[in-house]
Assembly symmetry: C2
Homo-oligomer: 264 residues x 2
Amino acid sequence: MREDDPVPTERTSSGDPARTLQLLWRDAPAAPDRRRGPRRGLSIDAVIDAATAIADTEGLDALTMRRVAKDLGVVPMTLYTYVPGKAELLDLMLDAAYARMPRTDTTGRPWRQRVTALAEENKALFARHPWAATVSTARPPLGPGQMAKYEHELSALDGLGLTDVEMDDCLAHLLAFVQASARAAADARAARHDSPMNDQEWWEANAPLLARVLDEKTYPTAVRVGAAAGAAHGSAYDPDHAYAFGLERVLDAFAALIDRGTGG
Amino acid sequence: MREDDPVPTERTSSGDPARTLQLLWRDAPAAPDRRRGPRRGLSIDAVIDAATAIADTEGLDALTMRRVAKDLGVVPMTLYTYVPGKAELLDLMLDAAYARMPRTDTTGRPWRQRVTALAEENKALFARHPWAATVSTARPPLGPGQMAKYEHELSALDGLGLTDVEMDDCLAHLLAFVQASARAAADARAARHDSPMNDQEWWEANAPLLARVLDEKTYPTAVRVGAAAGAAHGSAYDPDHAYAFGLERVLDAFAALIDRGTGG
DNA sequence: ATTAACTCTGTACGCAGTACGTTGTACCAC
DNA sequence: GTGGTACAACGTACTGCGTACAGAGTTAAT
């Protein structure tokens, strides 16, 4: 019952970036002397799909090269003829997930609806692929999915009176918020999952020590507010509420930029 | 030069939570029959400090039980008499880091200054301990450091006309923003670090393929805005700018809550 | 003096990513 | 045909991780 599984962030993009870009755009490998040797039994997309299926249903820590290989009926090392390594596989998974995102057209609608739609699309992405919230995107894979997503999302922010730089800044801010929410939600889910006790049991088990130690005199505000917040939402942390509250804040913040000069 | 180092998120809190709480509060182990056996050569704090030093200077992926043990001159398994496991060690490290945060007293100052101070304190935490931004805090370790931090930060938001629940919500929103910024900054740093090429070299290496593939007709907004953003800050992503911009947004958002009714 | 609790140690297991060398297959030039 | 060659797939093996487990040594209570 240890079950420590560390849920790694698994930074992407390790090896030769040019090779990774070629893979992302499905660019043929220069084809100097095309197609010798035995036929390939799999495809990059089969590998990506198998890996994505595992990560979706069992989490990033269950996603191992050995496991992907087993699901595809090959030996682990075979995967390395399709993909340079695990980091690049994650890049490809992420770009594929981006590419598959449904993109609602909100042209003509009021800007709050448009921004909300963007947030919801990304929230849905992280709901379908919880691992996507936890892979790091330093130097994000500039694949077709990423580009389509970026184009779509910028378009939704176009024509609101923002400068180009502000559009990029606002989008980054919004996406960071949604991703942080998704990460927090995933963390909360994970905490619930791999602990044999639920929130109530946990509280009961720790109440004696906490009662002794969480003194109302030393932590007056914390005790007061913590109790109020805990009572308001059912538990100590409510991801849905945090998302709803935060999205309203982000919208208000954008309003201060967008409505400036128009008498906000 | 592979150097894939996955920068794990390393979820905290795996084993018996009651034991973890005891460790956090340095609660004696029930002492039924106190102190038999040989004298301890180390202390929990020595283990925490050694681990923190490693994580600070070399990153979370360099933080292994073996490494901590080596730095302390003991064999790896010895650590397990001080700490139930690596997850709990991370909890303790985080709470200790919280406890050591300098907390500036901003009573009486305008609320924007107070909130900004909170953000800066947390930004400084993540600057000193970059790993802290990447460890997950589902069911955060309710240690003395965490509580002192929570009390301090709520106090800064007290008396602004917010309800208790709103105070908690706003604080969570602010902290999530700072943490997300720190994560992004750490990602950017990591990408620069473990790639032999800098941004310019990377661009030059990939320019041919990107030029062929990033069509202005298919991605008009993306190309336009991406160019503008890239030109405005020096590179593709500027963590400092993102933080500054985002903090202004968060403050504007809070203003909409705080100044409501007072003629905002 | 004996015993029991406790610290520290050494060895070992399972699992990860993946380097490396081999085997077998299919196309190309002859 | 037939040999050469490029390539896919495989098997083995290495390093390093967290930590279970069993033993050896050390101290305080009996």
